[in-house]
């Protein structure tokens, strides 16, 4: 049992990791079939995780209702909304023209769009509160940010065509250079973590202690 919990996952990670690494350099048909075979399995596994998510959600909220924990009224609404949506979707599907589709279009879409729309307000208040030039570098960053913010919308073009040209230059040069640096660093770090996982040095995915 200890072997299944501790050693077997590490061995499996090593074998699978090395197999997928070597596969990248083998163009033969067998390698392709292996690749697509594993991806089919992965789709099945990801699909199963949805079932697990449902059970976990219901368990959490039912516990809250049972214990009359703080905010358990929201849990009742969650459970009822979940049950009715699942029922309608299974009977009628969620395509346009069905009750599920109606709920999607007139409840879900506006709610999601509203949450995203709150970003505009949060950006304004966060920018007002936090964009203060306390150092020379912060001032340079602030000026660049202001130019891009105005240069990328029609009012910038209206004020001066040079604004949009300068904004494009900032996006295509210093901004891209910064992004590239971060992307390169992150990519190397990801390779290092992958090496650690394949060779069993990093075992976080197993949960538990080291």
């Amino acid at each position: 049992m200890q072997f299944i919990r501790k050693q077997f996952p590490v061995m499996l990670a090593f074998v699978m990791g090395m197999m997928m690494f070597i596969r990248e350099f083998v163009p033969a048909k067998f390698s392709e079939q292996l690749y697509y075979g594993f991806t089919d399995w992965a789709i099945v596994i990801v699909g199963f995780s949805a079932v697990f998510a449902i059970l976990s959600l219901l368990h959490h909220h039912m516990n809250k209702v049972r214990k009359r924990a703080q905010g358990y009224g929201y849990s009742i609404i969650t459970i009822l909304a979940f049950i009715q949506m699942i029922t309608l979707s299974l009977i009628f599907s969620v395509r346009p023209g069905t009750p599920g589709g109606w709920e999607y279009q007139w409840l879900f879409v506006p709610m999601q769009a509203t949450m995203f729309a709150t970003l505009a307000f949060f950006i304004a208040s966060a920018a007002f509160r936090a964009f203060r030039a306390r150092t020379w570098e912060a001032l340079a960053l602030l000026i660049a940010g202001l130019i891009v913010m105005i240069g990328r919308v029609p009012i910038g073009e209206f004020i001066s065509p040079h604004l949009s040209t300068f904004a494009d230059w900032i996006m295509n040069n210093p901004s891209m250079a910064g992004f590239r640096g971060i992307i390169l660093g992150v990519a190397l770090a990801q390779i290092a973590i992958a090496v650690r996982i394949i060779f069993g040095i990093e075992r976080t995915y197993m949960g538990g202690g080291d």
């Binding site: 163009p27 392709e32 999601q112 949450m115 709150t118 949060f122 992150v186 290092a192 949960g207 202690g209």
Partner: protein, 455 residues
């Protein structure tokens, strides 16, 4: 009378040419014009106003015969570095090649056909260099680079027509046809080859060498760290503030909120976030505070529960662990954000940790948390969300600082060693970028190909 005959002769010749071009053309439908073709402009002017036009004119000169140039040195061979379903046709461009010239490649089971057209391309396209990513090594040291973009054409065949792939080991015959102004000519020889599959992609030799070098560097520094565990790692303020945040929450008697990001366990930033969660759980257990971990992914949930439980056990407080503190919310992005904001507004945690990969909801989460007065520490490799976290959080771990966290917090030699190896690789990349920029500025471009995966 003369003009009438002249007009009639012109019309007859024009009609003859039209019918001939229709006969040579394979697919086009010839549409005769609604009105008779007009004579030359001068002749038309002469005809205007006349009651009757009679003319006799010698026949106009025959249009010159179209000479279709043919390519030379045509070869057909197996497509390298593939799964045995490809052939490649290579040829030197025809003398007198013009923009109007088109090449057509056809494939057949035998030397006499039947032929299936695979593809056509104008003579201005399909140069060896632009298609040449199947041909590694040739470009790495600039051999004949100019020729590759202006002298040799290359066409890849990957099906027999009708999307039926080529079969490995079967000999296929290839016909090359050149067409110009509706006139076609076949290349004299019908060539053949059989596709074969390869077991090593030579186009990725450079990738393999770099990957092995990098892996070896990491493993070397891990081995070195075993011998000498005192490897230097620079200060990361966000990680130093973890203890401060937990202590503050304990003093205020409020919970700590920890988010693992919006991505699944397949994402390495989620693994890094779970790593930090383990350390945080151990310290929270020591301080006897409450740790709330709402999860977006069910698999991350199970791993997070195990990690927190192990953290409490390692701290000697297994009884304090409550599995209900680590729970699944929803997989939907903004529903998750709304639920977490609700938790922040109701429970008013004193410390918020945002670790992992985030999308647009990052600002909603961080701004709501800032509104409750919590100390906030974020760590993400989502470069587009970094500005929002930097603006609203007290400390932010940028990009790979998140991945360095496990090494920083644990100071384990193995993990520190891999961090060192990663830094060495970064130094190598920086040196190559500087050298490459200088070389390319002076027109030496082979170094670019050294880092390109060809094929």
């Amino acid at each position: 009378m003369r003009n009438l005959i002249r007009l009639a002769t012109s019309v007859a010749i024009a009609l003859t040419l039209l019918l001939c071009s229709a006969a040579f053309s394979q697919e086009s439908d010839v549409e005769l014009p609604d009105e008779p073709l007009a004579a030359e402009g001068d002749e038309l002017e002469a005809l205007e106003g006349a009651d009757m036009v009679i003319g006799l004119e010698p026949a106009a000169d025959e249009p010159p015969a179209v000479e279709v140039p043919l390519p030379t040195h045509v070869t057909v061979s197996d497509l390298p570095n593939d799964d045995g379903t490809g052939l490649v046709v290579e040829f030197e461009k025809a003398a007198g090649e013009t923009e109007a010239l088109t090449y057509t490649v056809s494939v057949g089971a035998g030397p006499d056909g039947p032929w299936r057209e695979i593809g056509s391309f104008p003579a201005t396209k399909k140069w060896k260099e632009e298609v040449g990513h199947y041909f590694p090594g040739f470009f790495w040291f600039q051999k004949g680079r100019a020729d590759m973009s202006s002298r040799f054409h290359l066409f890849v065949i990957q099906d027999q027509g009708d999307n039926v792939p080529l079969e490995t080991g079967i000999e296929y015959f290839v016909k090359l046809t050149a067409s110009l102004d509706g006139v076609s000519r076949d290349y004299a020889e019908t060539l053949s080859a059989a596709p074969a599959e390869q077991w090593f992609d030579t186009g990725r030799t450079n990738v393999l060498i770099l990957a092995v070098l990098f892996g070896a560097t990491v493993l070397y520094f891990i081995a070195r760290a075993r011998r000498d565990p005192n490897l230097f790692i620079r200060k990361i303020s966000g990680l130093d503030a973890v203890d401060e945040a937990i202590g503050r929450a304990t003093e205020m008697g409020k919970p700590i909120l920890y988010l693992n990001g919006m991505s699944s366990l397949a994402d390495l930033s989620t693994l890094a976030a779970l790593n930090i969660l383990g350390r945080v759980a151990r310290r929270v257990a020591n301080y006897e505070s409450k740790l709330t971990v709402p999860c977006r992914d069910p698999i991350v949930l199970t791993v997070a529960q195990e990690i927190v439980k192990a953290g409490y056990t390692d701290a000697g407080r297994p009884d304090a662990y409550n599995a209900d503190d680590i729970f699944f919310l929803t997989e939907d992005q903004f529903s998750y954000a709304a639920a977490v904001c609700g938790i922040m507004m109701r429970d008013k945690p004193a410390a918020n940790f945002f670790m992992g990969y985030y999308y647009a909801e990052s600002l909603i989460l961080a701004e709501t948390g800032a509104g409750t007065g919590a100390i906030q520490i974020a760590g993400t490799d989502a470069s587009t969300q970094l500005p929002f976290f930097v603006t609203t959080c007290d400390y932010t771990l940028i990009g790979e600082e998140l991945y360095a966290a496990s090494a920083y917090l644990s100071r384990e030699p193995l993990v520190l060693g891999s961090l060192k190896g990663q830094d060495m690789a970064k130094v190598f990349m920086m040196v190559m970028i500087i050298i490459g920029t200088l070389l390319m500025t002076f027109g030496v471009i082979f170094i670019k190909d050294l880092f390109k995966a060809l094929g």
